[in-house]
Amino acid sequence: MSYPAIRAPASVRLAQRANRPADRIAGTAIPRLLAGLVVILVWELIVRGFAPAYVAKPSGVIAAIPKVIVDPGFLSATAITLAAVAEGLVIAVMFGTVIGLTIGRSIVADRVLRHYINGFYAVPMIVVLPLLSLWFGYTGAARLATIVFAAIFAIIINVADGARSVPREYLEVARSFRSGRARMLVEIVLPAAIPYFLAGLRLASGRALIGAVVAEFFTAIGGLGYYILYNSRTYHHNEAFVGVLLLAAFGVGFELAVNAATRRFLPWYRRDEKAE
């Protein structure tokens, strides 16, 4: 016996359809590919039609890629910038976590420091560059200081939020088992703050990358930012754009890595980004 077919509502049909693997590919991959091709084509045609020959265009950028990625100058510039970002992030994470935990768990520290942290966080980081270059000269130290300044407040704010959000019961249980303050901090507060820390790290790494590029523009010290600046000034736009693509890849890569880490290790955790 057969029932008359009842058409499911559109939302259900859509959801069902989206779950079939073949349709998932047809539903997302093809529009994405098409959109990408259209963007590239339009860009290529506009540059060919209206812009001077040195302007970056997709065909030129693609042609430049093999040459650029084996260029020792490009590789060392990338290594320098990445090393500086990594170093700055490590410093920012170390100090930022300690300060964040302190603010999150101590009302006095919170009251004294909160306005300064929020204030520094709202300062556009680029504005301290002239001051930092007065202090550190036009050197790698100025870049490192910029990266740390760009990154640290995002970490402090998020870690402090995390430390504040520890359920009170956990701490009470620990205290009733006569746990010491330091131990509670390391074994309860710190793990509870990790998802917040990761959210902060995601913001901080993006800001650190911007800080590094901006510092290199400003002080003209070697690195990926300076590579882009130099090549675009000497009308090698295609080569310079390869650098931009790499920066974009780093930006997206950081984002995806932190998201993946959150999903993998903290699957129960979902949280909207707190501040930027």
Binding site: L14, L113, Y121, V127, L131, I228, H237, D272, E276
Partner: protein
């Protein structure tokens, strides 16, 4: 102790302590390095009295507001359109996400060599910094509209225009406002970056000249001004976001 004193005393005490620390550090280091707060404020007063600060402030404000408004005018409708037309959204989503995560500063050298000096390239920089957070968050919001809402509207024979006005816009506005808050912060960075690296104008120029003259007092004074503007705008953004957040179900 009255309640208001209890609430505000820690804030003012910590501000006072910070000011004191700045003064002491400033007095005990070389003047090229750090200038006491009192001297910074004197420099600030001089800059304000000479009219330089006001003129350059208005210059920067014009740049920021123009770029930001264009970003809003483009980002919001584009985000809603992307939300409504599924094929375009699915197609463009990864690219928008990529541009959202790309450090836009890296494009400044290209803009410089293509558009040269002037007002338009700087507006473009502020626009590029500000538009992607708005676009990204609007799309994100529109994507989370429940299909049922649109179906109900449809079954009540709602037209396209009514659908936008009554369902799409109210639903996505809180998300857009999160984007607006982020865009304010980023746009400010874009404004200063444009003033540093393109034709030098506004508060950016003021700070550049001061640092070239090793006038640490003026550098600190303008950082203080831009910092306070940043804090005020951030507060404003937070306020706007919270106001609209109440709509969120």
């Amino acid at each position: 102790m009255p309640a208001w004193l209890n609430r505000h005393a820690p804030f003012w005490l910590s501000i006072l302590a910070g000011a004191g620390l700045w003064e002491i550090v400033g007095r005990n280091t070389s003047a090229a390095f750090m200038v006491p707060l009192s001297e910074t404020l004197v420099r600030l007063w001089e800059l304000a009295k000479s009219g330089q600060l006001g003129v350059q402030f208005l210059d920067s404000a014009a740049l920021f507001i123009t770029g930001f408004m264009i970003a809003l005018a483009v980002g919001m409708p584009a985000g809603l359109l992307l939300a409504r037309v599924r094929a375009i959204r699915v197609g463009l989503e990864p690219y928008i996400m990529t541009l959202y995560a790309t450090p836009m500063v890296a494009l400044i050298p290209f803009i410089l060599s293509l558009m040269g000096f002037g007002f338009a390239p700087k507006v473009l920089v502020v626009f590029l910094f500000a538009v992607f957070p708005i676009l990204y968050n609007t799309v994100e919001g529109a994507r989370s509209i429940k299909p049922e809402l649109i179906e109900v509207a449809r079954s009540f024979r709602s037209g396209e225009w009514a659908l936008w006005r009554e369902v799409m816009l109210p639903y996505t506005l809180p998300f857009t406002m999160t984007g607006v808050r982020q865009a304010i912060g980023r746009g400010l960075v874009g404004m200063v970056a444009a003033e540093f690296f393109l034709s030098s104008t506004g508060l950016g120029q003021l700070i550049m000249t001061a640092s070239q003259n090793f006038d640490t007092g003026a550098v600190l004074a303008i950082i203080l001004v831009i910092g306070l503007i940043g804090v005020a705008l951030m507060r404003l953004g937070q306020h706007i976001e919270n106001r609209f957040a109440r709509w969120r179900a």
